[in-house]
């Protein structure tokens, strides 16, 4: 129904407003109806304003900014529509070191109320996980599972 849809839109916007500036270190994201008179048929636009920049359409964001904006939408969805679990496969691949740290920080916080499985190569993300599973390929091409402690997974310190 229309009222539920409008209420869901508002709660998603609220959750997004809470998480976006924490991921980007400032700025904001705004959702808007393409046809506000008729939410049941309307589309939804998303405008993103990274800190220090003007609001801009998603198309002109950089690769890392897009990944971070998508992560903020996912965290917002986790708030308003919890699911038994979430699987995120290398969503941090395009992020620079500072953004990986912010992402991993939020992951840890949202992991308190949601179960999150994250596949990653980034050290910042591994460090904040509650548990680590290592997957390796033996010599003859079959996958095996090893339970890891964090020290095993991190490249040897320089």
């Amino acid at each position: 129904s229309r009222d539920r849809l409008v209420a869901a839109f508002e709660s998603l916007q609220k959750a997004l407003s809470a998480v976006f500036p924490r991921l980007f270190g400032g700025g904001r994201a705004v959702l808007s109806w393409t046809d506000p008179e008729n939410p049941l048929e309307s589309g939804i636009d998303m405008l993103v304003q990274p800190p220090g920049k003007r609001p801009q359409p998603l198309l002109t964001l950089s690769g890392g900014e897009r990944a971070l904006a998508a992560a903020s939408l996912l965290f917002a969805i986790m708030t308003v529509r919890p699911s038994p679990f979430f699987v995120l496969d290398e969503v941090d691949a395009a992020l620079d070191e500072a953004n990986v740290d912010r992402f991993a920080q939020l992951l840890q916080e949202y992991g308190k109320r949601n179960q999150i499985i994250v596949i990653t190569h980034r050290q910042g993300t591994m460090e904040r996980a509650d548990a680590l599973f290592g997957v390796t390929m033996e010599r003859h091409g079959a996958s095996q599972l090893v339970s890891l402690r964090l020290d095993d997974a991190l490249p040897a310190a320089p």
Binding site: A8, P39, S42, S83, V87, V91
Partner: protein, 165 residues
Amino acid sequence: MYLKSLTIHGFKSFAQRVELVFPRGVTAIVGPNGSGKSNVSDAIRWVLGEQNIRSLRGSALQDVIFAGTDSRKPLGMAEVSITFDNSDFALPLEYAEVTITRRTYRSGESEFLINRTPCRLRDIHDLLMDSGLGRGSLSVIGQGEVDAILSVRPEERRALIEEVA
């Protein structure tokens, strides 16, 4: 309702049976390129009823069955089971623990089970409908798909909100 464990045997590169027991909170899966990490996420999508083989990086249904390597023979079956704690009865079943199993054979046959009782794929879809794990939910974001969340067209984004409503 939360995820307790996942068992994979004969699915893609998992020739040997593996079991992942998940703690609450954040679990990281790590490992070299090509070791089988995304195959775990494919196994989760598959056992929850995924029917589009292309979104599992295959072209035929049998592509999910271990195809053999230099020193291991191909297997005849792939099986994945996923177990949830259902003590809050979020899933409309009388069980405090629910296990969904999916099998497929080289012959092309498929089997679906809920708590070891044979059922149809439809039953799994119905079971998961309102759980947040149904089709179209964003609970599994595959590799390279993070960008796609942003680039859906505005009408599709409304479906996102409807999912949330």
